[in-house]
Symmetry: C2
Subunit: 438 residues, 2 copies
């Protein structure tokens, strides 16, 4: 059989990684796929830039629309990123009845509903394994491996930058800003780290995971997103002493009244495997009714790790491009006419446990006041500890409380009341806590 012709939009890190993996493993890949795959064309912004992959056999151009209009290109791999040119290129490729592979979480999270519909109308596939968890086959596992299950919840460490920072803060006792600076030097964090640090990237990925887990539309704008820039070293330390690690999680849960979609720092018991996923590594824990918990761990970024998912998608597309579209795995795991728009819960409505830290003046009665406010709001306490403040110039102590599950609205009301106590200095620190055991 003729090799399948693939065109790549963008030959940056992942683009060149894809070229390198395909060339290096061509024999192994052909043994699996049963036919060979050829990157025949690529589009770059600047033809003069030196790149870390051989380009002799690839026709280069600078015009994305030229590539997606080429009749001989059967599969378009979009690695431009963002939602401008990438969106236009992908849309045109689909209209030209080309299959599309993308690593672009923003594109899928923000425009997936429209693009999948367009792909369906044109009988083509959009594959996006590389958009979540880099090379980890998490999309495939949830979409196909867990297809017998009603999925109850999932929780993922789906951003390597924040996981690296939290790991360093814990293991080396360093402050957020110092670790962030190092992460930027190492290339783990962008010059403008907002997307990673404030959880936008994780929210894109959570949007996708929640959709394929529950059969709901992609709805990025409904994800509650809280970053890690407010996490203090002190709280990392206290959490550790209490038997918890703080991880930046994306959580999607099927609750009684709707779906929870939230990205925020989270205390997790150290005994959970996912609490021990460190450095830049990613992992997703999925709770399913028949299967119980499964965890998928691996590199969430990097040139060749991401390329691994892109190339696996190419092989999948090659296998299914000739198949009756009705027999293909649906883009969002559920048949398009079976996607159900379940309500997404407002953050006030979610139920979880909490880590609270208050700075209080060290005098009798303060603890009784705090605990009675919590009791008034039906908040029961799992653990309680008092710490000397590390600020030597102040005459206060830290009260650290772990609560049982309660509605966030109740928690916020009681926090406001506690902050109003004259003996309490400043704001309370509130970090959500998940036991992830059932």
């Amino acid at each position: 059989m003729n090799p399948v012709k693939v065109g790549i939009l963008g030959l940056g890190t992942v683009g060149c990684g894809t070229v390198n993996v395909l060339l290096r493993n061509m024999e192994e890949i052909s043994r699996r796929a049963g036919r060979s795959i050829e990157i025949s064309h690529a589009v770059v912004r600047d033809l003069e830039v030196k790149r870390d992959c051989p380009l002799e056999t690839i026709k280069l151009d600078t015009e994305p629309m030229a590539l997606v209009n080429l009749p001989e290109v059967q599969i378009v791999v979009e690695l431009i990123g963002g939602t401008g040119l990438a969106y236009e290129g992908v849309k045109q490729a689909i209209k030209n009845r080309k299959h599309v592979i993308t690593a672009n979480k923003a594109l899928i999270a923000l425009h997936g509903n429209e693009l999948f519909k367009l792909a369906q109308e044109n009988g083509v596939i959009i594959a996006f394994e590389a958009a979540v968890g880099g090379g980890i086959p998490i999309i495939k596992s949830v979409r196909e491996g867990l297809s017998a299950n009603r999925i109850q919840w999932l929780a993922g460490i789906i951003n390597g930058t924040t996981n690296f920072i939290l790991t360093e803060m814990k293991e080396k006792g360093r402050d957020f800003s110092a670790v962030l600076a190092e992460a930027q030097e190492l290339g783990y964090a962008e010059a403008d780290p907002t997307f990673d640090i404030e959880g936008v990237d994780a929210a894109h990925k959570l949007t996708i995971l929640a959709s394929i887990a529950f059969g709901i539309p992609l709805q990025f704008n409904k994800v509650f997103t809280e970053g890690i820039s407010t996490i203090e070293q002190l709280d990392v330390l206290y959490a550790t002493e209490l038997g918890y690690n703080i991880k930046h999680l994306g959580i999607a849960r099927r609750a009684r009244k709707g779906i929870e979609l939230r990205v925020h720092p989270t205390l997790i018991p150290k005994a959970r495997l996912i609490a021990n996923v460190n450095g830049v590594m990613n992992a997703a824990l999925v709770m399913a009714d028949a299967l119980g918990p499964t965890l998928y761990y691996g590199a969430g970024a990097g040139a060749e790790a991401t390329a691994s998912a892109v190339v696996a998608d190419i092989i999948d597309v090659v296998r299914t491009m000739t198949v009756d579209p009705d027999n293909r795995v649906p883009h969002l795991a559920f048949q398009p006419d079976s996607i159900v728009d379940l309500p997404i819960l407002a953050m006030d409505e979610i139920e979880t446990s909490y880590y609270l830290r208050a700075s209080v003046i060290d005098k009798p009665g303060v603890l009784a006041q705090i605990t009675s406010i919590l009791a008034e709001h039906n908040i029961s306490i799992e653990a309680f500890t008092q710490k000397d403040s590390r600020r030597m110039d102040k005459d206060d102590v830290h009260v650290v409380i772990l609560t049982h599950k309660i509605r966030e609205a109740n928690m916020n009301k009681s926090i406001a009341k506690i902050e109003n106590l004259p003996e309490v200095n400043g704001k309370l620190v509130k970090i959500r806590m998940e036991h992830l055991n059932r």
Copy 2:
């Protein structure tokens, strides 16, 4: 579309689990699969036995061959186990051009080469996700998710019984035999536990994983297999003190001169995620050239967990049964004509690190003798510790040594020499050690 008709051979734990999962999640499953699945027929040994699943809609019979000969049954699910009746039934089903789904690792490990060939000739699929790691989609992940990679090695906790026993020995300081008795009471171990305890079950699963990882034929008879019945509490304790957990691993590795295939107790550094997979849970760690390490964790057994994989396989088969067989994912990940019979290394040829424990008479010069024997065989030492013997009636001490990597033949020669020293009592304890970091 009409529902797909499925016949089940065997309505034991997993068979009933499959019926229950399919019925309970029928709506969710239909939303994904795009058509419904009906278990129309089943074969049981005894029609009178009460079963934990509703049977009203299923035609029961006691004759496997009757079911596999029914024209209306399109997919046969084999859950009889063993390689007698199961083998005959599956063979006949394939000859009748029915697709087969099985959870039977022994059947695949021992007869897979023949059965896959027969299936290819008849244009049908044999799906076997449930044969390894219960419901964890490990076959799918390695076969499809990692298809871009040259896989270097994999290491799996692929038997829940042995993992439960080793976990209990470590966490509760109990002896092997006491924990085994408890595991039998809890139903985690069979009345005759040999298959699990001595590693036969794990060797079946490793045979399958190695085949799909490296594109080699199934060759169970070449797997080196060592069980956990000789592991003493003392060594679990010493390993822990040195920063390692002992796990019963199946390991397949691409070495310079061939493939290593081995099942044995193994020290793993505690910092590795897989070292913290406890109780009856399973996990597989796969090292691939582009992707790096990935880990897949979940329930390796149980009625519904296994049923999860069986039903996912049914959905996959329904999707691909109408597809040109050349476009399907090959049974063993590689195209049948691309399976290469790489040499499997004899155990003498493998290279690994070792934990050694010797009981020696506590007098000057003994350690020097031992370490010089190791040095003669080019074995370098990573760590070394001396322990008081726990046997109060004896005047000996325990010498515990961790070595760097060395060929097993060298290690065995040096052990024989050490055992010949007059100051050394009895046999050395030798447990292999893997760092699993690259």
